[in-house]
Symmetry: C2
DNA sequence: CGAGTGATTGACTTAGATCAATGACCGTGG
DNA sequence: CCACGGTCATTGATCTAAGTCAATCACTCG
């Protein structure tokens, strides 16, 4: 889930000083809940470290994970616009989060259109990258999925992709086991489709 | 890609009459481009029918699909906040789209915080459902993926899921072949985990 | 200098994709 | 009114790519 490439979708860019000032940090022990379904929404959370997951527990006892948020991710932004939460947030590991109180946030959005715009822009960008990721998951072949990833994340100029984070993380982001990922990368390199350098991959024109 | 369940994420709810008045419809023949990478952004598109896809073509000739938008989907919302497009939009089939001009849209967002709020809320909801969908794709087992789908889309009260659209569509939304989907549903029904009715599925408490 | 983790490769298994065929259910045009 | 073409729903048989288990090596960190 970690954004493993440059264009990180951090929450923080659009936040005004007023909002930042009102933020409240909170630490969570593993297993502890940040909020529960049905309780009143208090604001927008940003995960500073650790992992918090949103879980929908239905009456038949089944858990459905809606989101796993790690450092840098923002949590339950839709709750800003509804009065109660519709899922539980549980700390998967020890975690610390920052709360941006709803009242302050909404007031700021109301007051300064610039901020509202920034907020909307951030959300729009998130929608785009999420859609792209989702589209990627429609590709079944590991190789094609990796190709998609490389194409999407390629440095515009030099048909080169710089990898941030570990290969393992990227594999997870791609929805592949790290083994499958390593293997396929090795194959692609063997076929001369890519060239591997420390921390980056260079695309070589394969056909056409 | 079609929203196969009740809580459709339509773009239209937040749109003011001013915006609606300024909208422009446009028809596309299959294969025709709606816009190209690098050209100036003109606004937000909504797909009325047909399918339009966002494609990123890198210089090595590879195409990477960023999004397939069908009727009801909104297209390239992030472009609202940048001055040029960063991908191509190509009509996959004959399609008609509605353009909400950028200038009007941004002005409205600026002018009426209510509208800005509605817009942000729509985006936030989209982010949520997309994240949920993405989370679902991390589940490898077809059966568990279907369970996840059912759990997430279950009618809060009666542990029942009403299916809108064809089973085939839902299979696609789940990232499964329709065959795998049919089979797994059949198995689950045989195991008594679910009960199938015309257009809906009833969850039966499996364990615990 | 271990302990922990990432990177890599091997062997094996299986779940799901693929190809294929059939019946049910439209709508529609002659 | 009915035969026909189309799509959905379903099930069967087969095959393969990717998951799983497992081992090794390199590296970093305290």
């Amino acid at each position: 889930m970690r954004p493993s490439v440059g264009h990180a979708v951090t929450a923080t860019e659009w936040i005004s000083s007023t909002i930042r000032a009102a933020a409240i940090e909170r630490k969570l022990e593993p297993g502890k809940a940040l909020f529960h379904s049905g309780s009143k929404t208090v604001g927008l959370y940003e995960v500073l470290n650790g992992t918090v997951c949103l879980v929908r527990t239905d009456r038949s006892g089944r858990d459905a994970i809606l989101q796993m948020a790690s450092a840098g991710d923002t949590l339950a932004e839709a709750s800003l616009f509804s009065s109660t939460y519709h899922c539980d947030a549980i700390a998967k590991t020890a975690a610390t989060v920052r709360l941006y109180p709803k009242a302050v946030l909404l007031a700021e959005l109301q007051r300064d259109p610039k901020i509202a715009q920034g907020f909307a822009a951030m959300l729009a960008r998130q929608v785009m990258t999420l859609r792209t990721r989702l589209e990627q998951r429609n590709i079944h072949s590991a190789r094609d999925r990796i190709r998609h990833f490389l194409a999407v994340n390629a440095d515009p100029g030099g048909r080169t992709v710089s990898l941030s984070g570990t290969l393992k993380d990227i594999a997870a982001e791609l929805g592949l086991t790290h083994e499958a990922f390593y293997r396929t990368l090795a194959d692609m390199a063997a076929d001369g489709e890519i060239e591997r350098r420390r921390g980056m991959i260079r695309l070589k024109k394969s056909d056409l």
